[in-house]
């Protein structure tokens, strides 16, 4: 398998703002790659660097082995699904989808057929004669997808494509995107700030913060073994145990992460790896109760199955967990 996108120490600075700062990544052909991070973390700028809307101020970019610097967007074999879909309001849906073929000089009949096929693929056949304004958000999103895919790009870039959809539609589209990507075998690069979306869809995730990649790995790695406090916090709100508690538990590094759902609550007593504390708050979240336990001043969240009784606030408890659930972290 060859490399689809290669970033070699890529930077994009806007004056003093380091939007992207020394990013290295290698996306394999056919991979579903997610770039996850809060707004302003540099993930969208990375996507725009791939699309050609931005040029790097430092480093080197390759797309399928070809140098990408200085190549304008219209000469790259990548296509983008925009966050606001960016459908052309004055063109019919069919003309929107056929636009890429039209500007490349494909004949009228051929591009009509290709556009209709693409619309059928995103389950919107017979919508061709409508205007973008007559479609719902979910339908527009599908049209944007068809408009990009009809050009048979080598890499499809998706900029928060599901952000504007309601929860149910979003879950449905997540599945469809995943299926589509598998059947087409095209490399998907997906930008999102929703960790759930990244975890459920991507083959690999790059977690961004402040223009840098904090961690790059499979969803399971990123979720279970966050390398930094930022990743622990951003990807599913892990507990970060401070140095004092780490010492108590015999961990060598300054900080360690611990997933709320990996912890068991029990009455005061002894466990294999356990800490004593008092309950300081709890709330009902449906499938679980979120119980906050105060251990020597550190507040540790526990996701306790809803079937179990919730201890009263102020009552002493012991939290215990398997040793392998505790992950030492690199930095502060």
């Amino acid at each position: 398998m060859s490399t689809a996108v290669l970033f070699d120490n890529v930077s994009r600075h806007f004056g003093a703002v380091r939007a992207v700062d020394g990013v290295n990544l290698e996306i394999a052909e056919g991979e579903f790659f997610a770039m996850l991070g809060p707004s302003g973390s540099g993930k969208t700028t990375c996507l725009r660097l791939m699309a050609g809307f931005e040029q790097p101020t430092g480093g080197h970019i390759e797309i399928f082995g070809e140098t990408a610097e200085g190549v304008p967007p219209y000469r790259r074999s990548v296509n983008t699904v925009f966050q606001d879909y960016a459908l052309f309001p004055h063109l019919s849906i069919l003309d929107n989808v056929a636009y890429g073929l039209m500007v490349k000089g494909v004949g009228r009949e051929e591009r009509r057929r290709a556009a209709e096929d693409a619309l059928a693929m995103v389950k919107l056949p017979s919508y061709g004669s409508r205007r973008p304004g007559q479609l719902s958000g979910g339908q527009r999103q599908r049209v944007a997808l068809a408009r990009a895919l009809v050009n048979k790009p080598k890499v499809l870039l998706l900029d928060e494509p599901l952000g504007a959809l309601d929860l149910k539609l979003r879950e449905q589209m997540q599945e469809e995107l995943k299926t589509l990507q598998k059947s087409l075998g095209i490399t998907f690069v997906f930008v999102t700030h929703d960790q759930g979306e990244a975890l459920s869809m991507a083959d690999r995730i790059a977690v961004f913060n402040d223009g840098r990649i904090q961690q790059l790995g499979s969803p399971e790695e990123v979720y279970k073994q966050p390398k930094t406090r930022f990743v622990a916090d951003f990807v599913g709100s892990s507990n970060v145990l401070p140095a004092k508690l780490c010492q108590k538990l015999g961990v060598r590094s300054a900080y360690a992460s611990l997933r709320p759902e990996a912890i068991l609550l029990s009455p005061p007593g002894e466990g294999a790896l356990s800490l004593n504390g008092t309950v300081s708050a709890h709330s009902f979240l449906g499938a679980v109760n979120r119980v906050v336990v105060d251990v020597d001043g550190a507040r540790i969240a526990v996701a306790s199955p809803a079937a179990l009784a919730v201890p009263n606030v102020g009552s002493p408890v012991t939290i215990s967990f398997a040793a392998h659930e505790l992950h030492p972290m690199e930095d502060a």
Binding site: A51, G52, F53, P72, P73, Y74, V78, N79, T80, F82, Q83, D84, A86, L87, F88, P89, H90, Y99, G100, M102, V103, K104, R147, A148, N151
Partner: protein
Amino acid sequence: MRSDRLNRSPLGLKIAAAAGLAFMHVPILLIFLYAFTTEEKSYQFPPPGLTTQWFAVAWNRPDVWAALTLSVKVASIATAVALVLGTLCAAAVSQTRFFGRETISLLVILPIALPGIITGIALRSAFSMAEIPFSFWTIVLGHATFCIVVVYNNAVARFRRISGSLIEASMDLGADGFQTFRYIILPNIGTALLAGGMLAFALSFDEVIVTTFTAGQQSTLPIWMLEELIRPRQRPVTNVVAMIVVLVTFLPILGAYYLTRDGDQIAGGGK
């Protein structure tokens, strides 16, 4: 909730509104009326008799035709120049960020905010200093200064409504700059340009002050009318021409209004 009583305006207000409108528009009707009068030396009311002979007289006067053709030519070329430059300027100001952008957008609008007489004097002294002889082209240049503003204002409002990602999407799908302009930008700003162009044409067509300062021996239609009013003979011919001017300028402004009424204001329509 609003009650019906609040929506109904008092009688006094209605009368005041009607009087205000009458004050503005009755004089225009009088101009039309005097185009049909039989008295040619003075405007007396009521007109002693009605005739359509002045239309024939106006039709046969070569000076009317010369002034009319000059005005149409000047307005057309000034509008064409303004359409190109105004659109380019609007594109630059609304689609890119650069140092001094706000200043430039202010400087572009300035000619319409300045009194016409200032623009006129400034252009006249500039032309003299550069030793450019006054001609048809100096009138066109003078008119282009304010025509650009009208086109710019209309275009910039529309450009702001085009989301930047539309242009990026077009480029992303393989269209170069020219194709993007041809297939995406032009269809989206087309009506705004048409409206701006019509307004610019109308403004240029009845412009007096700047023309006075930038014309050589030529008389555009408004200048011709001004000169004609001083002469005692065949006065109603001026009224006939005035009627034509009203039609020629009113129709484009009406057209511009209908083209842009959903959302855009016709900026600069008040000059």
